[in-house]
Amino acid sequence: MSDRQPNEKPVVRGADGSESAYVESQVIMSTVRVIAPFSLTYGLFLLFHGADSPGGSFQGGAIIGATVLMIAFAFGIEPTRNWLRNRTVVVLAAGGTAMFALVGLIPMAYGANFLEHPFYHEQFGIKTKWGLEAIEVLGVAPIVAGVVSGLFFVIAAGSLPATEEVSEDD
């Protein structure tokens, strides 16, 4: 799924004659095309298997975010930026924070403490384990993956020529 769109036109950014840091390299592109599916799978494995083996949501989310960065470095930042919608990044980062807060606040609404996981078992019969998993999979990992990839694109965009900053109407 990783090399679907960004490799259609790898040199879009340099086409306007402006100085571009991107250099199309067959070696890097081929390497990333092979490695990206594995690193994405490894990130997902760490994320979903973090409760029972080393790793966890932070590491998994960071590796998923790093995979996006790797693709952007190989196939050009601009095509990847156009392929990744701003909505996706914001939903990941803000939604993750909201989900984490929600898991913590629901017990409080019933009079228990913030993030009191055993409460879910007593009240709804949901195992304590799923409370931890919800924080990991729905909370921390999306925040890390979203912020890591978002930081990369916002720093790249901050250094683009000023003429491209017309899209500030959001």
């Binding site: 966890g56 590491q59 960071a62 701003n86 980062a93 924070t97 912020v147 978002g150 720093i155």
Partner: protein
């Protein structure tokens, strides 16, 4: 005892750290710094801390390197004549003072795996989590149980800090969107 692999790894980390501090060319510094992070990741794995090793490899060697490369790719690179930074005296004095404090502290640490280390000699806290974490949470990885369960509130704070870092970067750069919408 420290194995030959440990000594070699320590030498590699030390050499890359020195090169990071002394090299003049910024691109070379970033590349050497990435090698340093990779060495530190191996070092954490060597010290049986796989969770920390993964974070160092992903964030330290991967993301930070890419962010630094991206930053200098769009700035002017000075063509400096000298390869090695000339150390200045006040910095060396501060460095020497910190070194004395560091050596004084590190030599007081208990040896790796020592039975006299506080983690073994005062086992109430550590052993509590090792004994109860699976019973309480049904999660095999005690680190996950502590992070998401017992210390969930701290983790919530950390997650909010990461989120705030993303938002404040937008504020500093005067933008409102991460990508082009």
């Amino acid at each position: 005892m420290v194995s030959a692999f440990g000594i070699a790894l320590f030498g590699f980390v030390l050499a890359t750290a020195l090169a990071t501090a002394l090299l003049r060319d910024i691109l070379a510094v970033i590349v050497v710094f990435a090698a340093y992070s990779l060495g530190m990741a191996l070092f954490y794995a060597f010290l049986l801390a796989p969770d920390v090793a993964m974070t160092e490899a992903a964030i330290g060697a991967g993301v930070t390197t890419l962010l630094l490369l991206l930053t200098i790719a769009t700035t002017v690179r000075d063509d400096v004549g000298i390869a090695i930074e000339r150390p200045n005296l006040p910095a060396l004095v501060v460095f020497g003072g910190l070194l004395v404090v560091m050596i004084g502290t590190v030599t007081q640490f208990p040896a790796l795996g020592s039975r006299n280390a506080p983690v073994w000699s005062n086992p109430e806290v550590t052993q509590y989590y090792l004994e109860h974490s699976y019973k309480d949470t049904k999660v095999h990885n005690a680190v996950t149980a502590v992070l998401a369960g017992y210390r969930g509130f701290d983790t919530f704070g950390e997650a909010v800090v990461v989120f705030a870092a993303g938002i404040s970067t937008l504020a500093v750069l005067g933008r409102e969107v991460f990508t082009r919408e």
